[in-house]
């Protein structure tokens, strides 16, 4: 048996995958050949070095998939999304006010609030035009508010991403002290690209949400028009 043949069998020898005959020939060669003995020892040594890996602790992470989480836990973070209920609540109140025909007027005695057009205020006190104008103003305000919030949110996300990128790079550099500048550039480019995509996804999700709010406002407008029409025809 040659040294080259022996070396080819080292892995199988360590796995005890050799036949008795092959094993015997190999062991005979190993007794006589210092190089092959060293080769065998070296393979064992390298595996032992790898096995000296110390188990790393698992960082904090979310173990529970969304479908197993209780409903209240599935809500998004209130710091980012808590204000989302405001336009919906306002739309609801507005719809309620229209349905109940709430009328507010000022008299020399103060402010009078009437329901169903019963007290003190004439039918003409609140016209269809008034409601439509108010709703249009409300929509405009909401639009402006949401645009401002979107901008603030985007800035916040960018800041968070920057901080996360910085942490990622620190970790990379500390783990791979000899990382070449090329692979570092690739990582940076990848992270930057990923960040852009994340922001685009967030913006489009937000836009969808905002659009659905506008839809609600438009529905309220249509409802108000209908109620006014019904009231006018009575």
């Amino acid at each position: 048996m040659t040294c080259k043949q022996t070396t080819a069998l080292v892995v199988e020898y360590l796995e005890s995958d050799l036949s008795a005959a092959q094993r015997s020939i190999l062991e005979h060669h190993l007794r006589d050949c210092v190089h092959c003995r060293q080769e065998l020892a070296s393979v064992q040594q390298t595996q032992a070095s790898l096995r000296s890996w110390q188990e790393e602790p698992v960082p904090q992470w979310n173990r529970i998939p969304a479908s197993l989480q209780p409903t209240e836990k599935r809500h998004r973070s209130p710091t980012l999304f808590g204000w989302q209920w405001v336009p919906l609540a306002a739309s609801f109140l507005l719809a309620l006010a229209v349905l109940l025909n709430v009328q507010i007027s000022t008299t020399p005695d103060g402010i009078v609030v009437a329901f169903g057009g019963a007290a003190g205020v004439s039918e003409a006190g609140v016209s269809e035009v008034d409601v439509t104008e108010q709703l249009a103003r409300f929509e405009e305000q909401q639009q402006q508010l949401q645009e401002e919030q979107l901008q603030a949110f985007t800035v916040r996300m960018e800041e968070r991403q920057d901080a996360a990128n910085a942490r990622l790079m620190e970790t990379m550099v500390s783990q791979f002290g000899e990382t070449t500048s090329r692979s570092l550039e690739q990582v940076i480019a990848y992270v930057e690209e990923q960040r852009e995509r994340d922001l685009q996804v967030l913006q489009s999700s937000y836009q969808q949400l905002a659009d659905s709010d506008y839809e609600t406002i438009r529905s309220v407008q249509q409802l108000a028009t209908y109620v006014q029409y019904q009231a006018g025809s009575r």
């Binding site: 210092v34 790898l50 529970i64």
Partner: protein, 194 residues
């Protein structure tokens, strides 16, 4: 019914607590597997999350015909391969920038020569290595080599199991493993000589 099977059964009925207990039993193994393959904490966390999500989604398919860990690590292996494939789409090289097709093609046994007597490696090195060192050695390997080292050294699979998992001949798995060990040994020697 084993403890795993009991947890699986409860998790399938919607118990978050059972699922969490099941994850906690194995997350360290999956995380360390991921860390050695991906090289960074962030990517290891990504991979671990994908693995457990895959396990969760397929939990109803687990029939108990094999050990839960065997079944889970099959998913982990496939997720790791998928993630590496996705990463490669962003780069012409491995995530680590390694391009060692030469190593794959060459015969590792060619390097062995009796004209270069070596010192006894057991004398030259200490076995103990830090995790950072080990990760550095693994990072120097091609993805296929790294995966084989992980499966053989850390997951203690046989070459037949690796061959089946990766759909390659067992001899290819052995050659690849041996090439990987030789490369790592070369790195250790270089460091030692510096």
């Amino acid at each position: 019914m084993s403890h795993d099977e009991s947890l699986i059964s409860d998790a399938l009925e919607g118990s978050a607590r059972a699922w969490e207990a099941l994850v906690k039993r194995y997350e360290a193994r999956v995380y360390n597997f991921s860390l050695r393959l991906m090289g960074s904490q962030t990517d290891a966390l990504d991979l671990m999350q994908e693995v457990f999500l895959g396990v969760f989604r397929n939990l109803h398919r687990f029939r108990g015909e094999s050990l839960f860990t065997t079944w889970m690590f099959r998913i982990a292996h496939n997720k790791a391969v998928d993630m590496n494939r996705r990463r490669r789409l962003f780069s012409e090289h491995d995530f680590y920038g390694q391009q060692d097709a030469d190593d794959e093609d060459s015969d590792p046994f060619e390097q062995f020569s009796s004209d270069h007597p070596q010192q006894d490696p057991a004398v030259r090195f200490s076995e103990e290595r830090s995790n950072n060192d080990i990760n550095r050695y693994l990072a120097a390997l091609s993805w296929d080599q790294r995966l084989i080292v992980e499966l053989k050294v850390f997951q203690s699979h046989t070459f037949e199991e690796i061959a089946e998992l990766q759909s390659i001949p067992a001899n290819t798995a052995k050659t690849r493993f041996y090439s990987a060990l030789k490369k790592i040994r070369g790195l250790m020697e270089q460091e030692h000589d510096m």
